[in-house]
């Protein structure tokens, strides 16, 4: 099964099998639009150990999906441009690889699951075709072998009657089954890193749980690293090891999952946690973060969160931007007043 594609892969100069499967350093992405430059990602950094689950949490428009697309190299260019930083796969900067080699990293080493499986699957080809083409194009398999492998994959993601369903079209599947097909597609070539961009957002709650359980199981079996992009704090708590909270294109807090739930060190994270409905506080008004996220063409100076922040002082409203403070050995927060925020709890 390992054909020349893999041989070429290993031939990427500088590839270090002991390096981390994914490391993002100071990534900058901007969108050049008619209304000005939208700074979607402004210096995002995080890393990923083998088998680790990293959650990237944030509201819509905070740059989390753009980060994922930049890692995959599937940004719409133009208008989107990666303007700085590094994306390292096992020590190799993907941004410096020629497109032909970068293409081989996609799906083979780093794969992605998209949010809305109905629109992310091509409506005019059968599920079997869309799965099988990975084996045919990347592994040089025949149509027949590719189809057999597709059926195995559908079995793997627990789609009943895989042998029949492989010949059906995406619109003939239910929402949960479609997301399973997406997962099968992402896992087809045994990637080391899986990026799941809001994998359960379009699904109802019971199906969400099934899909997350399936993802966790498959991840464990394969010792795969997972980047889970979501705005759902509930999903994060169950599966993530570490969390990066993003706001206006920056990681504003980074911590192991339990620490962040116990004592958030950034007012935004704190606001997010307080806005989760809780049964023990029934009858009280649900607290929400005041105001709206900033327009990306015009991000506030200093701390981007300052107009909505109850801790904000003058120092937050002026450049330079807030540095990352080391809260403890394993966590950082971009807030001048992290001690107050944390102690306030």
């Amino acid at each position: 099964m390992s054909t020349d594609v893999n041989v070429k892969m290993d031939a990427i100069p500088g590839l270090d099998p002991n390096a981390m499967p994914l490391q993002v350093k100071d990534l900058h992405v901007e969108f050049r639009t008619r209304n000005g430059i939208a700074h979607a990602v402004n210096g995002v950094s995080f890393d990923l150990q083998p088998g680790e689950t990293r959650a990237i949490l944030g509201e819509s428009g905070c740059g989390k999906s753009v980060t994922a697309q930049a890692i995959m190299g599937i940004l719409d260019t133009p208008p989107g441009f990666v303007t700085g930083g590094e994306i390292l796969y096992r020590g190799v900067d993907l941004l410096k690889l020629p497109e032909a080699q970068r293409r081989k990293v996609r799906a083979n080493k780093i794969a992605m699951i998209f949010q809305d499986a109905l629109s992310a699957l091509n409506p005019v080809f059968t599920v079997g075709f869309q799965l099988g083409e990975l084996f045919r194009k990347h592994r040089g398999m025949s149509r027949k072998d590719a189809k057999a492998r597709s059926i195995e994959l559908l079995d793997l993601v627990k789609i009943p009657a895989a042998r029949q369903r492989v010949n059906e079209y995406p619109h003939q599947f239910s929402g949960g089954m479609r997301q399973r097909v997406m997962i099968a597609m992402a896992l087809a070539l045994d990637p080391e890193v899986l990026i799941a961009d809001e994998p359960t957002t379009a699904l109802d709650v019971t199906v969400q749980a099934q899909i997350m359980a399936l993802l966790a199981e498959l991840q464990r079996e394969r010792n795969m690293s997972l980047v889970l992009i979501t705005h759902d704090m509930g999903v994060v708590a169950d599966v993530a090891d570490r969390i990066s909270v993003m706001y206006a294109g920056r990681v504003i807090e980074e911590a192991p999952v339990n620490d962040i739930y116990a004592s958030p060190a950034h007012p935004y994270t704190k606001g997010l946690l307080e806005s989760i409905p809780r049964l023990d506080l029934k009858g009280q008004e649900l607290s929400a973060i005041k105001g709206l996220p900033p327009v990306l063409t015009n991000i506030p100076r200093g701390c981007a969160f300052n107009p909505r922040c109850r801790y904000a002082q003058d120092v937050c409203r002026h450049d330079p931007p807030v540095p990352l403070y080391q809260v403890s050995s394993a966590r950082t927060a971009a807030c001048h007043f992290w001690k107050e925020v944390k102690g306030d709890e």
Binding site: N122, P123, T126, K137
Partner: protein, 337 residues
């Protein structure tokens, strides 16, 4: 699918009968208001009334209802239908006593060839130009296609036809015809000012291109927007994320979806191409259905008009049915019950 096709074929019956009655009524009105078409045979001479009456009767214009303005002539219509839908279909004759079926079978091949050339030209060049422009939105290629298609769409087909005949067929053709080394099939066939019986296919190429030109522009624009729209689709992003080569992302995942509206347009457009064929055939002197019906309408030969137009209606209906079937093949979400 089989049931769907049968149902569609059954729907042909009322459509065709309705068209035939409408044609019958219009041609009858024309005779009622402008007089007996048979007189045209005699030119300037005034025929003896007995002779005129005999010839009129023989050619099928003897029914007294044709003298009463506004009379829909149901009796005459039923007579016609009876003759047409008999074991031995008889569509009547023209003023020179040639059976309409024979006229149609002589003329139809030319029109079909013309249409095939037009549709091929329109699909191949139109889709290619549309894809070219759509993939490079905002570039020189895109603007070139946008501007040239606006130009094509705004020029009426008879103007385009006359201009092409004058400049390509006559002027440019004359230059070519002066060159010894150019094969005659090019200089006298392709670049002739009109249809040449010696080069029955070559001399249809330019008329076919004129006929396809306007639809080509629409096809190109439709393909362009469709490609641009689909390039932003989520499933195209998925295809890229799967590490597929750009050629495959465009050629397989984008193109098939983009062509669905284009195919629909080309199918519907076959009907208006038929109308365009009437103009093009007249300009380029092609002995096809279009010219036949133009001449017949001018002389008031109602049997010819009814026979020919019914034929055209059938061609359009069948083409539309084929397109609907093709549509279901292209887009699996469409299922006909």
């Amino acid at each position: 699918m089989g049931r769907y096709v049968i149902r569609r074929l059954l729907q042909f019956i009322p459509t065709v009968l309705g068209t035939m009655f409408l044609l019958h009524y219009i041609t009858s009105l024309a005779i009622q208001f402008s007089g007996n078409p048979v007189r045209a045979i005699f030119g300037d001479r005034t025929p003896p009334p007995a002779l005129l009456a005999a010839v009129t009767e023989r050619l099928g214009y003897g029914d007294p209802c044709l003298d009463q303005k506004g009379n829909p002539c149901f009796g005459l219509f039923l007579d016609r239908m009876q003759k047409i839908f008999s074991l031995n279909p008889d569509f009547g004759v023209n003023l020179r006593l040639r059976p309409v079926t024979e006229l149609v079978s002589d003329a139809l091949p030319y029109t079909l060839k013309l249409l095939v050339i037009a549709i091929l030209f329109q699909s191949i060049v139109g889709i290619a130009a549309g894809v070219w422009a759509g993939l490079r939105s905002g570039s020189f290629a895109d603007n070139l296609v946008k501007i040239s298609t606006v130009f094509l769409i705004s020029v009426p087909i008879f103007v385009l036809g006359l201009v092409v005949r004058e400049f390509v067929g006559v002027k440019f053709g004359n230059v070519l015809r002066g060159q010894e080394w150019i094969p005659e099939v090019i200089s006298r066939g392709v670049f002739s000012p009109g249809f040449k019986p010696d080069y029955p296919l070559a001399s249809l190429i330019i008329p076919g291109m004129v006929l396809g030109a306007v639809s080509l522009a629409t096809t190109a624009r439709l393909t362009r927007t469709s490609i641009m729209e689909n390039l932003r689709a989520d499933y195209v992003r998925t295809a890229r994320a799967k590490g597929l080569a750009n050629k495959r992302v465009i050629g397989v995942h984008t193109l098939r979806n983009s062509l669905i509206p284009v195919i629909t347009f080309i199918g519907v457009d076959i009907g208006s191409s038929m109308a365009g064929a009437v103009v093009t055939e007249t300009i380029f002197n092609v002995p096809g259905i279009g010219r036949l019906v133009t001449l017949a309408a001018r002389t008031g030969e109602s049997s010819v008009v009814i026979g020919v137009v019914t034929m055209l209606v059938l061609v359009v209906l069948i083409a539309n049915l084929l397109v609907d079937i093709l549509y279901a093949v292209l887009d699996p979400r469409i299922r006909y019950e």
